[in-house]
């Protein structure tokens, strides 16, 4: 039996917009529809995501008292209180944080990311 809840309703809404609405929409409104579908897909992935593991890993590594926030980290990086020198693992943690954001916000961007980072000679 399928449960009628946030996940299934979102999936239904996306499907309805794509299969029922998009084909009959005037061309000049299709961009708005595409953005609407995209927003719903992001909401769907956010609900399905298991946890903010990457965020907590980032903050708990930098702030071992468990009281860190993203606001605090941003300010501390800006002032130099937190840096590559104080935390050599910082760049890797920030990268993992961004990857976890992108799994929700735009997984396609992850697929398009070069396997080896491009060089200037590309």
């Amino acid at each position: 039996m399928r449960r009628i809840g946030s996940e299934s309703l979102l999936a239904l809404a996306i499907k309805t917009l794509r299969t029922e609405i998009q084909p009959v929409l005037p061309a000049e409104r299709r961009y708005e529809l595409a953005m609407t579908v995209r927003a719903l897909e992001i909401a769907q992935r956010e609900i399905q995501a298991e946890s903010d593991a990457a965020t907590w890993q980032l903050l708990d590594t930098i702030y071992d008292d468990g009281e860190g926030t993203l606001d605090m980290l941003s300010a501390d990086i800006r002032t130099g209180k937190v840096s590559d020198e104080t935390h050599p693992e910082l760049r890797g943690l920030l990268e993992r944080f961004l990857l976890s954001e992108l799994e929700i916000r735009n997984p396609r961007a992850l697929k398009q990311r070069p396997r080896t980072s491009s060089t200037v000679q590309d």
């Binding site: 995209r38 927003a39 760049r91 920030l94 992108l102 990311r113 060089t119």
Partner: protein, 352 residues
């Protein structure tokens, strides 16, 4: 998209003041406005196509012009139309392919804001359509060469005593000045972006030395801001971010990954290889392109775009604008920050 219902500066139902002003400015009484059409202009500018007929005099005949004015939501970091017109005028005098200036009006009472009128250039500036054109294999490199020539001409313009204060200029090394500008713009944002802060620290620390002399910098030279007609460059548009600065900033912006529309195998704006751009640029500029400096500015491009994405998202988050496009744009910061992080890692592997 949100074009319908948006308040316009020019009232297309009340054009008499504009016609009167044009007649006075062009020293004629024979100018009539045959037709007007709103063109795509984005959020900060408003562009109108003017079909004009002049019955007598040296400009007699039918003309197609463009009226450019400020939209209501002009970004605080972009030039107003008159400052932009100044930059376009400099470029026109230097032989850069830009619309020819026709008239400029500083009086906001004529249509509701200052405006400029310039010639209309036929062509297509739609970036996604351009990079997907099946003919690009034939003319992409040639087009990149034309872009290189135009950029070299733009960068041959240097400030002097009369012009230096007419456009923004950096008060530090251009890279550091750009970081400071981004920080000022982001200071009011409540959205914490630790990765962007990290990138800005890196960009400040690794800013290249000042160029020997500042140049005119277009500031938004990318695919989508130049017109193409039959595979040839027709004109350079959208000078609202022009300033005095480091010319490599323009090369970096044009080659930045975020402006390739996904065509990473064509690093020059999604249309061509670097050699085509660099060789043409060097030939006209009289100096070889420094790929390390361009690489830096490509990273800066991603950071700048990430900052813009945050600010656009803030218009939804705290600005009260219920726009799905603004909300989604705000989320783009993540992929742009990742692009910048990848870029600085590659920079260190390549140059350090």
């Amino acid at each position: 998209m949100a074009e319908q219902g948006r308040q316009r500066t020019l009232d297309a139902n009340h054009l008499e003041p504009l016609v009167e002003w044009l007649n006075t400015a062009l020293d004629t009484s024979a100018l009539t406005l045959v037709d007007t059409e709103l063109l795509g202009g984005g959020a900060v500018q408003e562009n109108w196509r003017l079909d004009v007929e002049i019955a007598t005099g040296p400009r007699s005949g039918r003309h197609i012009w463009v009226l450019r004015t400020d939209a209501a939501a002009r970004l605080s970091v972009s030039l107003d139309r008159l400052a932009e017109a100044y930059a376009v005028g400099l470029a026109f005098e230097a032989g850069v392919r830009v619309p020819e200036p026709i008239a400029r009006c500083e009086d906001a009472s004529v249509i509701g804001a200052p405006f400029v009128v310039q010639t209309f250039i036929e062509g297509d500036a739609q970036g996604l359509r351009l990079v997907r054109d099946p003919g690009i294999a034939d003319w992409g490199d040639r087009l990149a060469g034309e872009l290189g020539v135009e950029l070299a001409r733009i960068h041959s313009i240097h400030p002097d005593g009369a012009s230096v204060d007419r456009l923004p200029r950096p008060d530090d090394r251009p890279g550091r000045a750009e970081v400071a500008k981004l920080r000022r713009a982001l200071a009011k944002s409540g959205e914490p972006r630790p990765a962007l802060e990290y990138i800005l620290v890196w960009l400040k620390r690794n800013a290249p030395a000042e160029p020997e002399v500042l140049s005119l910098v277009h500031g938004d030279f990318r695919t989508g801001n130049y017109l193409v007609s039959d595979g040839r460059l027709a004109g350079i548009l959208d000078w609202e971010f022009a300033h005095w600065g480091d010319p490599d900033e323009d090369l970096g912006w044009l080659c930045a990954a975020c402006w390739r529309f996904g065509y990473n195998d064509r690093p020059v704006g999604g249309i061509a290889q670097r050699a085509a751009l660099y060789e043409a640029y060097a030939r006209v500029a009289g100096r070889a392109v420094d790929p390390k400096r361009v690489h830096y500015w490509e990273i800066m491009a991603a950071a700048r775009w990430a900052g813009i994405a945050v600010l656009q998202g803030d218009r939804y988050r705290t600005g009260g604008e219920d726009s799905i496009e603004l909300a989604l744009t705000g989320l783009m910061a993540s992929e742009l920050e990742l692009e910048a992080l990848d870029g600085l890692a590659t920079y260190e592997r390549t140059w350090v």
